[in-house]
């Protein structure tokens, strides 16, 4: 799986670290009581504190702190029971305070780990350096007026968790897997909705390259605010190639901030180190250090849901699924919940097969997610139930599945309406078998002559005459009994 760039001067590998901003699911902002709903009319969710009116003071929102602790626990990370909020100073029109309240050298969450599930079924661990809480900025709207910029402060002060990875990733695929896994974890935890298209999860990419075999960390470029997994992978690919080309040409990569142009698939310089902000971090004197007890951490730990890694283990060990299938099913919480509803009280392997092989194909064809599945988990479960109790065969079940997609009807109704109920009445099957043997004198001769494969011809005949409803096991047995006698 190694990702090697062939340069003129040799082989290069890429070193990737990610900084992901996750918008915290909370009713109110990090330091004010204003609401946080997505898509509200501009400037309708703004408190006096958010607008940085004179004399306004921040007060920490406990719910956001709990969410950060929960996320830290989900990342198997060290929780710092004392952390400090700091002011990050810079001027921008959508930053009313003139500083962002963030955390600098004392974040709420310290080192942790995340396990990547890669496409070849292998796993790989990536270190989390830290998670800290900070305020989001507002939005500058440059496209509303030819000469003026409009400001929407609804997002101002909304709580973000910035999750910083170690520079542990070595390919665009690993970075993609990291983003998907992180999104999966925060969705399981319900601490962030993970919707990158809505901006509630945004990614900054730190990319550098080095000769294969080297352990140095070369100058990196940071690509900011990438808003999809695919774009992140594209940006890394572009960045790595760009940097290799620079080194090949005898140049030096400069430390700078870049932006990804998703239209052209390229990154572009935004500002160089010389123009980098001096953020002048210092502890926010309006806020006391954030201190909480180990008891609070324990209390939150007790409420943690089963996370994807543990769930995957359970699917493998209890349900007997393959690591690949288990990984696929747990990646999204909604998929896992769907699968478990289908598998409840049934053959889990069979349920996994139906979900992965049949349902996923349909979802992918229709371009919808599991939450918009045309077939409910309950109906798919019933279909599997009909197979299990031998009401229908697996083959018929596939037809029923298609009919369910077309009509939206329950499997029972379809089986009933179309008369697809399997024939298990020995007399009826025996009659069909006898008819097939009678009609196939040539085939009987071949069978007797040792061609056992010809049995399939007889089965086909029986199925044809019973519209596929004859129980295959019974048909096989009867045929063999009669032909061998």
């Amino acid at each position: 799986m190694s990702y090697i760039l062939k340069g003129e001067t040799g082989d290069w590998e890429v070193v990737i670290g990610l900084e992901v901003h996750c918008q915290v699911i909370s009713n109110a902002k990090l330091f004010s009581g204003a609401a946080t709903n997505f898509g509200a009319e501009p400037n309708t969710q703004v408190s006096l504190v958010d607008a940085a009116m004179p004399g306004m003071l921040p007060v920490i929102n406990e719910q956001c702190v709990r969410q950060a602790i929960k996320t830290g626990l989900g990342l198997k990370a060290k929780i710092n029971t004392k952390s400090v909020f700091a002011r990050k100073n810079y001027f921008y029109a959508d930053l009313p305070q003139g500083y962002q309240i963030s955390q600098a050298d004392q974040p709420i969450v310290g080192p942790g780990t995340i396990i990547l599930d890669l496409a070849d079924g292998t796993s790989r661990e990536v270190g989390i350096e830290r998670l800290h809480l900070e305020q989001d900025a507002g939005k500058s709207l440059h496209d509303q007026d030819p000469t003026r910029t409009f400001i929407d402060l609804n997002r101002t002060g909304v709580a973000l968790m910035e999750i910083v990875s170690d520079p542990d990733m070595r390919s665009p695929e690993e970075a993609g897997a990291y983003l998907r896994k992180l999104r999966s974890i925060v969705r399981y935890l319900e601490t962030c909705d993970g919707n990158m298209d809505q901006g509630s999860m945004r990614c900054d990419l730190n990319v550098s390259v080095r000769p294969v075999g080297s352990t140095e960390l070369r100058t990196r470029a940071e690509t900011k605010n990438v808003n999809s997994v695919r774009f992140a992978m594209q940006a890394i690919e572009y960045e790595a190639a760009r940097q290799v080309a620079i080194y090949d040409a005898g140049g030096e990569v400069v430390q700078e901030t870049r932006l990804f142009d998703s239209q052209k698939g390229v990154t572009r310089s935004m500002r160089s180190k010389e123009h980098a902000h001096d953020y002048r971090y210092f502890p926010d004197p309006d806020l006391l250090p954030l201190v909480f007890s180990d008891d609070l951490v324990a209390e939150i730990k007790a409420t943690l849901p089963e996370l994807p890694d543990e769930r995957k283990d359970r699917y493998i060990n209890v349900f007997g699924l393959s690591p690949y299938d288990a990984g696929v099913l747990v990646a999204e919480k909604d998929t896992a919940m769907y699968f478990e509803a289908v598998a409840e009280g049934r053959d889990a392997k069979m349920a996994a097969n139906w979900v992965i092989n049949n349902l996923f194909a349909v979802l992918s064809d229709r371009g919808v997610g599991i939450s918009d599945s045309p077939i409910s988990a309950a109906d798919l479960g019933k279909l599997l139930g009909l197979i299990a109790d031998e009401t229908i065969s697996t083959k018929i079940a596939k037809d029923v599945f298609e009919a369910m997609l077309e009509t939206g009807d329950s499997p029972e109704k379809i089986v009933e309406d179309k008369g697809l109920k399997q024939i298990t009445d020995t007399g009826a099957i025996e009659a069909a078998v006898d008819a097939a043997i009678a009609a196939g004198a040539t085939q009987v001769a071949q069978y007797k002559g040792g061609n056992e494969k010809i049995l399939g011809w007889f089965v086909g005949q029986v199925m044809k005459s019973t519209q596929g409803k004859a129980n295959p096991g019974q048909v096989n047995k009867l045929l063999k009994d009669k032909l061998d006698s």
């Binding site: 009116m53 004179p54 004399g55 003071l57 007060v59 009313p96 305070q97 003139g98 002048r280 004197p285």
Partner: protein, 496 residues
């Protein structure tokens, strides 16, 4: 009636209770005095309509026998650093042009709940940065006191700062009492210059919510009054835990007036040897010695204490306060409220607005603070200053293991003439040399008028107490006030 503006809170409270006069009459007298005293420039905004309305409400409450607040009907000036709902709030700065807050600061709201009547918004140094009230965009305030002799005789004197308008208003009979804020001495030094009582409570005693911020870790609101008893009454009405201010102390407010027993017998008073500075004005030294003698006579034990890091306090303050201010004042950017001077780009608009909106002293402190926080200098300045601040705080902790209060001069001189020290910021900063250490340690400190200079100007002594022990500070202050027995009617033509 003409003497109504010579009453203090306690005596006016009694007069109102007896029905000698109404709150409306009292307000009217002050409204007239303010109009007659405009030359002092103590107010930026006069609010006679608000005052009369609230005074009449007070009279109506009293007539019905409804619950009276501690300040019911008492006319006060509100330092124009407190945001007041529906009333222009300037912080003495051009940059807040036309800013009318849609909210009321916690302290001013508390005072209103206690029945206080707001006469107007008093002048101050721009963003409370100054020690002479000469940095206000709305012009300097004149001290109602005049030197009776010496080189400054006949000249207009500064009232001190930053709460110069509040101090001048109280001393000049333009308010019965006033709110102040103190970051490094802004209540105590003008109180000393104007011959009134000024109390900076313990950091966290009064909410900072709705007070235009200068330096968040130091800013604290407090009363500026004619007497120590008034300070006790007014502090009680201002103080209290406020969940909207994370640094507000979750402590109950004692009945400060009830704590005023007048008995200081048995208290140990510390005299910090480091405050006896080289080149100290002998008049100030004499006043201090007098204060020591009075307290000894009142039954206190006097003990020399050491506050070894005192000499670093001013330098520390002038790192910490500007650093915080540089961030606190970033919000005045011309985008949402106040002054906006257009420009060709966003950066131009910022520079034009802030260049025109902030005065020289404010710009100087923003630059100092920005520099102190800059990459490469942060450790040498800000971090170092925080460490020294801790040492200064520890000095006081150690001292308070053996003493109950500390006595020092409030300021190194009496009020000086308008126009002096203006060219030399450092000379101006030295005004706060005795008050700044208390602020850095977050301790309560009060200036009490204790005597006069040879030129006839009032001088104050400072009483410093343990954290949240304003009660002892008030008691020691009352003992000094009683022993001094001063006639503090400002020698001036401004009030009648």
């Amino acid at each position: 009636m003409s003497k109504l503006n010579e009453l203090n809170i306690a005596s006016a409270r009694d007069g109102l209770a007896r029905g000698d006069f109404s709150a409306a009459e009292l307000a009217e007298v002050y409204i007239q005095a303010i109009q007659g005293g405009r030359d002092m420039n103590a107010y930026i905004t006069e609010t006679p309509d608000v005052a009369l309305e609230r005074a009449r409400e007070s009279d109506a409450r009293r007539a019905k026998g409804d619950a009276m607040g501690a300040m019911d009907g008492i006319p006060i000036a509100m330092k124009d650093l407190f945001c007041t709902e529906g009333v222009l709030t300037t912080a003495g700065s051009h940059i807040l042009d036309g800013f009318v807050p849609p909210y009321e600061s916690t302290v001013s709201a508390n005072l209103r709940s206690a029945g206080a009547v707001m006469l107007g918004k008093s002048n101050l140094d721009e963003f409370a940065m100054g020690s002479a009230n000469i940095t206000s965009y709305y012009g300097p305030v004149k001290n109602p006191w005049k030197a009776t002799s010496g080189p400054d005789q006949g000249k207009d004197l500064v009232p001190g700062g930053s709460s110069g308008g509040s101090a001048a208003a109280v001393a000049g009979g333009l308010a019965m009492a006033a709110t102040g804020t103190d970051t490094g001495g802004s209540i105590r030094q003008p109180a000393s210059f104007c011959g009134i009582v000024g109390l900076k409570p313990t950091y966290g005693r009064c909410s900072r919510w709705g007070v235009v911020a200068f330096a968040s870790s130091l800013d604290q609101a407090g009363p500026m009054t004619k007497t120590v008893q008034d300070a006790a009454i007014m502090l009680g009405a201002m103080a209290g835990h406020d969940p909207k201010d994370s640094t507000s102390a979750p402590l109950p407010v004692p009945n400060f007036e009830a704590l005023l027993t007048g008995n200081v017998k048995g208290l140990t008073i510390g005299i910090p040897k480091e405050y006896k500075m080289d080149g100290m004005d002998p008049e100030i030294q004499a006043l201090w010695d007098q204060g020591i003698a009075w307290l000894k006579d009142a039954g206190c034990t006097i003990k020399e204490v050491s506050l070894p890091h005192t000499k670093y306090a001013l330098a520390t303050y002038y790192i910490v306060a500007p650093a915080e201010a540089s961030a606190n004042l970033a919000r005045y950017d011309g985008v949402r409220y106040g002054l906006r001077v257009p420009g060709d780009s966003l950066d131009d608009m910022y520079m034009n607005t802030r260049g025109a909106g902030f005065g020289e002293e404010v710009q100087r402190r923003i630059l100092i603070g920005t520099y102190a926080l800059s990459s490469g200098y942060y450790d040498a300045y800000y971090i170092k200053a925080q460490k020294v601040r801790t040492l200064i705080s520890n000095d006081f902790k150690t001292a308070f293991e053996s003493v109950d209060a500390i006595l020092t001069p409030t300021a190194p001189s009496a009020a000086f003439a308008l126009g002096e020290k203006q060219e030399d910021p450092v000379a101006m900063y030295l005004n706060d040399v005795f008050t700044v250490p208390t602020s850095l340690a977050g301790l309560p400190g009060m200036s009490v008028p204790a005597g006069f200079s040879s030129t006839g100007l009032p001088l104050g002594l400072q009483v410093i107490g343990r954290s949240f022990d304003e009660g002892t500070v008030l008691n020691v202050g009352a003992a000094l006030e009683k022993a001094a027995g001063l006639n503090l009617k400002a020698v001036t033509g401004a009030s009648s």
